[in-house]
């Protein structure tokens, strides 16, 4: 049995896979990646210069020009926006306008810390629950530092995540995390029986699609190929989505064991746990756990004396929401631009390096372990009648106790928002909520009794998604919130297909003109055409879903929209120059 420390299968010498490590090293050493360094990387890896540059220029994490000494980036996506991050950013921009050579204030996409909004990245370190005073102090301190002291990669400060409740889904809770389920499966080789248990537990894809996990794993098992892969999508980047961060931090053993079990079932030899680069702490925790598993002899060749070989590694994403799209994620691992592929082929037949690949969300792997450890009956019964299972849900926005909660399926959104997350701040009323970040669109407060149930939320033209509940109180403007959501899609569009690349920008243009009170006669017809073309012709879910926020606001908040379009009135006082 091979107990040596595992090497990454990604090449550190030639080809494009592993190219991000080179780019990161250069950026760490020089602060940015120059054209000359790109040439060197291409020469060393024996690839074309254009192949390195096309990748380096795709991921905003890589700077191709020397950075300003103090790089201030403020998230202004849904939850941070609800916490006035736009005003914070505008104030900081004004405050440091006289130091253009030293300070740059700009946007950054959602950092997955919505429960601590607003969030700032200062020279790649993250600061949470930020007030203007805090931000100013931090920035002034950074300015005062001499160049040599200005680390670009010091460890980010963390806030305690513990919320003092016991996690129910962990079969190892209170005991030794000894991977007994995996050991048992390897010893007994009862893959069909194991699959049947997952079917019985009615496990669904927890990344948002809600697709049956049993069908996916069985499909991948049947798919023929000498090499197969298991991939865990831990790239959660959608505004409001923070649950995977919690799971990765507190239940790393379940995620890893879930992947190992999946590998044994589908016959994969290699696994990648694809994590967003901003989750530095979680990546560290996962690497430590992997070393522990390896020390137990559960990874490597001839595991537990059988002929089963499997090893896995943590793959740190070069960044971008689009990497969460499964085929884009695979492109990223292969060292390409994270552009979603045309489907078919499906990834269970032709995924990573064209090999059969089982890709699932963090929570899906976690719950596979729950079902196998505690039984399908326990899992189903853990939910409210008619809605089997449990779910991790993040509740953020206009609530007094934002956070991540493990809840039974079937619980109502009212309970989630009021009982779990403390309800809106005093004197405020909830007017809307997004069941799952921008992708689900917004639902009105009148639908708060809706249960957390895949089919029931879908029936409302929305989706349960990844369980990223964002709450808007009556001081939010829903047109503004639609614009914020659409801007996110515009910023995160990969640019591969023309409807999404151009359409999301034109949609932002249109909504921005509405918030300025510029409404033209054909605007509504134009919005309809634009929404149609995005939904029907975009290659992937990002473009297809991009019109959802404004469509849902048009549908559920007609009076508010009428006031904007006809009366030039914004009751929240946000539009028409009302906000900063």
């Amino acid at each position: 049995m091979d107990t040596m420390q595992s090497q990454s299968v990604l090449s550190d010498t030639t080809g494009l896979s592993g190219v991000y490590e080179d780019l990161r090293q250069v950026q760490d050493a020089h602060g940015y990646v120059s054209a000359a360094e790109i040439l060197k990387i291409a020469e060393r890896r024996k690839v074309h210069v254009r192949d390195v540059h096309t990748v380096a220029s795709f991921y905003p994490h890589f700077r191709l020009k020397p950075p300003v000494p103090v790089d201030v980036r403020i998230c202004d996506d849904m939850t941070c926006h609800l916490h006035q991050s736009h005003a914070l950013k505008a104030t900081l921009e004004r405050k440091y306008a006289h130091l253009p050579e030293v300070v740059r204030v700009r946007d950054i996409s959602c950092l997955g810390r919505c429960d601590h909004a607003p969030v700032m990245a200062l020279n790649d370190r993250y600061y949470e629950n930020l007030s203007l005073t805090d931000a100013t102090q931090l920035i002034d301190h950074e300015i005062a530092l001499r160049d040599s002291e200005r680390g670009h990669h010091s460890a980010p400060p963390r806030s305690p995540e513990e919320r003092g409740f016991a996690i129910q889904c962990d079969p190892y809770a209170g005991g030794e995390r000894n991977y007994a389920l995996f050991r048992d499966l390897v010893a007994k080789r009862n893959t069909d029986e194991t699959l049947a248990k997952l079917k019985e537990g009615e496990l669904r894809g927890m990344g948002g699609a809600g697709f049956s996990t049993f069908i996916k794993w069985e499909g991948c098992k049947r798919s023929i190929g000498p090499q197969k892969y298991v991939v865990c999508n831990a790239d959660e980047s959608e505004p409001g989505t923070i649950k995977d961060r919690f799971i990765l931090q507190y239940l790393p053993h379940m995620v890893i064991e879930g992947m190992m079990i999946c590998a044994r079932i589908v016959g994969a030899q290699r696994g990648f746990l694809y994590i967003r680069h901003e989750y530095e702490l979680q990546a560290e925790i996962l690497r430590e756990e992997l070393e522990r598993v390896r020390a137990m002899g559960l990874l490597g060749k001839d595991i537990l004396g059988t002929d089963f070989d499997f090893d896995m590694e943590v793959f740190v994403s070069p960044g971008g929401y689009i990497c969460g799209e499964e085929t884009a994620l695979m492109e990223a691992i292969e060292g390409h631009r994270a552009e979603p592929r045309n489907k078919p082929p499906r990834t269970i037949n032709s995924g990573l390096w064209k090999s059969p690949t089982a890709l699932n969300n963090v929570e899906t792997f976690t719950h596979a372990v729950t079902i196998l450890g505690k039984g399908g009956d326990w899992y189903r019964a853990a939910g409210r009648p008619g809605s089997p299972g449990v779910k991790f849900v993040g509740v953020t926005g206009h609530v007094t106790r934002p956070g991540i909660f493990e809840v039974p399926m079937g619980v109502s959104y009212r309970e989630l928002i009021y009982d779990y997350a403390g309800g809106p701040p005093a004197g405020r009323e909830v007017i809307a909520f997004a069941p799952s970040g921008p992708s689900s669109g917004y639902l009105p407060a009148s639908l708060l009794e809706t249960p957390l149930d895949w089919d029931k939320v879908k029936g409302l033209g929305s989706m349960l998604g990844s369980g990223a509940v964002v709450v808007c109180a009556d001081n939010a403007c829903m047109l503004d919130m639609a614009l914020v959501a659409v801007r996110f899609y515009r910023n995160e569009s990969c640019g591969k297909c023309s409807p999404c690349r151009i359409g999301t920008q034109k949609l932002v243009d249109l909504l921005e003109s509405w918030t300025r009170g510029e409404v033209r006669a054909g605007d509504q017809a134009m919005l309809k055409d634009l929404s149609q073309v995005l939904r029907l012709t975009s290659i992937c879910g990002l473009g297809q879903i991009a019109p959802a926020p404004i469509q849902s606001v048009m549908k559920h908040f007609p009076e508010m929209m009428r006031e904007h379009l006809e009366d030039r009135h914004c009751r929240a006082g946000v539009c028409f120059g009302g906000a900063v």
Partner: protein, 748 residues
């Protein structure tokens, strides 16, 4: 997707808009529709490229939630496809509208040939207005750096056809997408301007492009090189060109578009093909035959001396061979004269032969320098004569590059290396060692070859073109030198601690020979006298640079003083000044100058003004000696004292005279016997057929053999004076310039 194995010969039935058609398994919906006679519009799909399905124009309804791109979606047995439902037609219209909203209509392609696929398809689809806002910020400025292809990013719809043309069809792999989302564009290599990239100008991208994003650049207005029916000039068919190895891999359509820019010419033995000093814009490639290439002008320079004493005191200009008037030269006489051909001419007997497969006139063609030598057919010859767009294609062609490099390594590297004085003594054996190790690199105008402060990792010899050597001083560049063909650089950094002491940038189309640091050091170790020479040269260059830097950093509060310093007057030895308050513009000075110099004046009365003085000097030693740029034979250069001198193999083309901003260089014409002919024009509009005349460049000599310059002597108004600059301007400015200069030097 179906994973069942199919009988490879079995057909399946697919229905497209009600037409049933039998197609093989694996057929795309797009191809099935074509077979069914149903055309599906598309922008990004081409039959000879792998489908990418990014434009989404070809979307069809295959019964799924979203529409699918027909170009990539595989048909399945029994599939029913609809291509023209209302939602599809509307979605297509909106897609055209989206693309048009950021597209300059009519784009260049539409203007040139009316075949912009986007504009034409949109019109056919009934798109009459564009409702969306235009792009607020232009995506990227147009890129005009390539000699043959114009890039207009605003017209690009990111269909990836050029990318696939470049990679899949030609295997060149230069173009890729760069950036992300709405700010994605195409890019060349690491986002270089196209002309600076490794693009070989095969033209495939331009032929693949559906819009005006990549269009053909016509040179000289797209006209033909010669009128039709010119004797001995024949048009060449594209097929004939494509059969030549040097055009292998080039797009035929692209060559057709440039058909007028290359012709075949036939010369009889003894016929002159080009003449030294003439202007031109073409290069020649010898398809068959042998030519002589030589410099006709005598290797002599203009010398002015006092004539016999007589009634009038006059100066007399003569052509003097170097041997008769040894010039004080700090650097050894070069053994070879560099010309615009793949050979160097021996100094003593400047003639060489070129053969089938040789190219000459590259610098004239690419950068419009005058012809550096005369070429005469030795045998009957057949040539391709071409303009720069075609030359560019050929020069970048892999086959031609290989041939050119082999020739260079085989026969030119040795003489090239040894004609650099410091390498004069290296052995043939060591040249053999270097032959396989040196690299030939090309640089486009403006491209940086090496950067001040960067690692000194190589030594460079210039094969073609001009290199500007400079140091960055705040916003200004301090030009240390313009190095011509045959020049070399990089030794300073290699000898002094491994850091580049200056930046070097290509002024025009430049090719350099790179000798890497280990080879360079090996050379120094094996040939101690080479080391001695190089160290002496490096020390000399250091001294020169210090003087230049002192001058450059001489910034003061006083504007007139600033001007004085900037104009380099501080360093001049002797100046001629005309007091403009006294001067009546009678031109007696000009006449006197002409009288004194065989009827050719060297004084132009509209020189640089300083306060109320017009200043004429022998050489201003400009910070930016533009006279040196472009000399086809490299015969004008800086002496070690920084004075500009004109070497005796000047071919009299007049380019330096045109380039000198102060009018200090003039062209003398002599008859073939060496006597200056009277009253010749000083400008460069010479009669090129006048072959018994010899032209040489010269600059004002302040009549140094006379007691007083003729112009001063002749001035009836006491307006002209010969002065020592510092004394004179100390009075004018009220500043002690010697002290000031010392101060400036100290505080550098």
């Amino acid at each position: 997707m179906s994973e069942h194995a199919h009988d490879p010969n079995a057909l399946m039935s697919v229905t497209i808009d009600g037409h049933e058609v039998q197609v093989p398994h694996g057929t795309t919906v797009f191809d099935a529709a074509r077979l069914a006679g149903v055309p599906i519009p598309t922008l990004c799909h081409q039959q000879n490229q792998t489908p990418v399905a990014v434009c989404r124009i070809c979307v069809v309804d295959v019964g799924e939630r979203a529409l699918q791109a027909a170009c990539i979606f595989k048909a399945e047995p029994g599939m029913v496809v609809k291509t023209d439902t209302e939602p599809i037609v509307q979605a297509r219209k909106t897609l055209y509208e989206l693309m048009l909203s950021d597209h300059p209509s009519p784009c260049l392609r539409q203007q040139q040939s009316g075949d912009c696929e986007l504009e034409n398809q949109a019109e056919a689809a009934g798109v009459t207005e564009v409702r969306f806002n235009k792009r607020a910020v232009p995506v990227l400025a147009a890129d005009d750096s390539s000699a043959s292809i114009h890039v207009d990013f605003s017209a690009c719809i990111l269909c990836d056809r050029c990318i696939r043309g470049c990679a899949e069809i030609r295997n060149n792999n230069v173009i890729a997408r760069q950036g992300k989302g709405y700010f994605t564009t195409i890019g060349f290599d690491a986002n270089e301007p196209m002309g600076n990239s490794s693009c070989v100008s095969c033209g495939e991208c331009m032929v693949s492009c559906p819009t005006g994003a990549l269009t053909n650049k016509k040179v000289l207005g797209g006209g033909r090189l010669y009128p039709e029916d010119t004797p001995n000039v024949y048009s060449v068919e594209t097929e004939e060109l494509l059969e030549l190895p040097v055009f292998k891999g080039v797009s035929g359509t692209f060559l057709e578009l440039n058909a007028g820019s290359v012709v075949k010419r036939v010369f009889k033995a003894g016929e002159t093909i080009v003449r030294e000093g003439e202007n031109g814009s073409t290069a020649f490639y010898i398809l068959d035959g042998t030519v002589d290439i030589f410099i006709n002008a005598p290797r002599e320079h203009v010398s002015t001396e006092k004539a016999r004493p007589g009634l009038f005191t006059k100066m007399r200009s003569l052509l003097q061979p170097k041997s008769q008037q040894p010039r004080e030269e700090e650097r050894a006489t070069p053994s070879h004269i560099r010309i615009d051909a793949p050979v160097d001419l021996p100094y003593g007997d400047p003639i060489a032969e070129l053969h089938t497969g040789d190219l000459f006139g590259e610098m004239t063609c690419m950068s419009f320098y005058p012809r550096s030598a005369t070429v005469r057919a030795k045998t009957d010859c057949v040539m391709l004569e071409m303009l720069r767009n075609v030359l560019d294609v050929m020069q970048k062609n892999k086959t031609f590059r290989a041939q050119l490099e082999a020739n260079y390594r085989g026969r030119a590297l040795g003489t090239h290396l040894r004609s650099v004085p410091i390498f004069a003594n290296i052995s043939e054996e060591f040249v053999d060692v270097l032959r396989d190790r040196v690299e030939l690199l090309r640089f486009a105008p403006g491209q940086v070859i090496c950067e001040e402060g960067g690692p000194a990792d190589a030594f460079y010899l210039i094969r073609i073109g001009f290199v500007k050597v400079f140091q960055r001083r705040g916003l200004d560049d301090l030009v240390l030198a313009y190095l011509p063909r045959g020049g070399y650089f990089g030794e300073m950094g290699l000898l002094q601690g491994g850091v580049r002491t200056a930046s070097c940038v290509a002024l025009d189309h430049v090719e350099v020979v790179r000798i890497l640091a280990p080879d360079f050091h090996e050379m120094l170790d094996r040939f101690p006298d080479v080391r001695g020479h190089i160290e002496a040269t490096a020390a000399q260059r250091t001294r020169e640079n210090v003087i230049l830097q002192q001058r450059a950093s001489a910034k003061t509060e006083s504007t007139p003083l600033q001007q004085f310093l900037e104009q380099g007057l501080m360093d001049a030895q002797s100046l001629l000044v005309l007091d403009l308050e006294r001067c009546t513009r009678c031109d007696q000075c000009v006449k006197a100058c002409a009288d004194a110099h065989d009827g050719v004046t060297r004084l132009l009365r509209d020189g640089v003004r300083f306060e109320n003085y017009l200043v004429a000097t022998s050489c201003r030693q400009c910070r930016d000696p533009r006279c040196m740029i472009g000399c086809p034979v490299g015969s004008i250069r800086r002496r070690n004292s920084l004075e500009v001198i004109i070497e005796d193999w000047c071919v009299g083309c007049g380019l330096c005279a045109t380039n000198c901003p102060y009018g200090n260089i003039t062209i003398h014409e002599f008859d073939a016997t060496g006597n200056a002919t009277a009253l010749q024009s000083v400008q460069t509009d010479k009669d090129s057929s006048n072959t018994n005349k010899v032209r040489k460049a010269t600059s004002c000599d302040l009549c140094h053999d006379l007691a007083e310059p003729s112009c001063v002597y002749a001035c009836p108004h006491d307006a002209a004076h010969r002065v020592k600059p510092n004394e004179f301007f100390t009075q004018v400015l009220g500043v002690d310039l010697d002290k000031e200069a010392a101060f400036v030097g100290k505080n550098r």
